[in-house]
């Protein structure tokens, strides 16, 4: 399902605050809450902590993009389906794999990235999440990650 939700409207659900809010919008959420999935949009910003003064993106940023995209999509499900769950603390506890090459991405030449996430499996309180960071115009994949998060 296509949506346009700003993360500012979901701040209640996550403890992240600027300058550590790296995701801007949720643009798609899957239909199945148990197999949570979705796409988030990142408006690249040369003042952000993931960006160097030369406009380069940290390779490791793919991990934080994936973790935050998961958190905000989880929050979006709660809003869309009117769940009354209390906000949860989610901690990144592992990186099972990450391949990232941001060398061709420069701010401000590139302005938008998308982050697609889906839950691979859940063994509560641990959830394994796959993330793909890509350029939406070309679908070129910049990074692929699989992370483990602990949900309190």
């Amino acid at each position: 399902m296509s949506v346009k939700l700003s993360v500012k409207d979901l701040a209640f659900y996550l403890p992240h605050r600027p300058p550590m809010v790296w995701i801007d919008h949720i643009v798609e959420v899957g239909d199945d809450y148990k197999k949570m999935s979705g796409i988030c949009k990142v408006h690249l910003n040369d003042q952000a902590l993931y960006c160097s003064e030369r406009g380069e993106i940290l390779a490791s940023a793919a991990i934080e993009f994936t973790a935050q995209a998961f958190g905000y999509i989880k929050a979006a499900y709660q809003v869309i389906h009117k769940f009354v769950d209390a906000p949860t603390q989610t901690y990144l506890t592992g990186v099972r794999s990450c391949k990232a090459d941001f060398s061709e991405i420069k701010v401000p030449n590139h302005q938008i990235l998308h982050v697609r996430v889906n839950v691979v499996r859940e063994i509560l309180p641990l959830t394994m999440v796959r993330g793909v960071v890509f350029i939406p115009e070309t679908n070129e994949v910049i990074a692929e990650t699989e992370i483990q998060v602990y949900v309190e």
């Binding site: 605050r17 550590m20 003064e53 990186v95």
Partner: protein
């Protein structure tokens, strides 16, 4: 990492060189990531743990350059907080793949275990 941030970081008690070394680091209280991660409970994000590890690698092994970063089987076990004294131990067998361990200096607690592969 931004040059201004790099200048905030001083590794000390560096021992070893080349492909096996360790260094101590006091996490800056004013590290800018803390204000948003999280305001009531500041914790160094994994992205910073990885980048500080890469910074140490680049300072100690001058040959380390990379465009492609691969990470596997890495764990972030303990909370790293403002002012935390940590020891970072680094080891490589081939100059491309690196095993990095973060431990607390005061109690030797395991904080993070990272496996990195860097490709030019």
């Amino acid at each position: 990492m931004d040059e201004k941030l790099k200048q905030k970081i001083t590794f000390f008690d560096i021992q070893g060189d080349g492909e096996k070394f360790q260094a101590d680091l006091k996490i800056p209280v004013d590290w800018p990531f803390f204000s948003g991660h999280f305001p009531q409970n500041p914790i160094l994000p994994a992205v910073s743990i990885i980048d500080l590890s890469l910074l140490l690698l680049q300072r100690q092994s001058k040959d380390v350059t990379f465009q492609r970063l691969e990470i596997s089987k890495s764990k972030f076990i303990g909370k790293v907080q403002p002012g935390h004294d940590v020891r970072i131990s680094v080891q490589s067998r081939d100059g491309k793949s690196w095993e990095i361990a973060w431990t607390g200096k005061s109690d030797q607690s395991r904080l993070a275990q990272i496996h990195l592969t860097l490709t030019p």
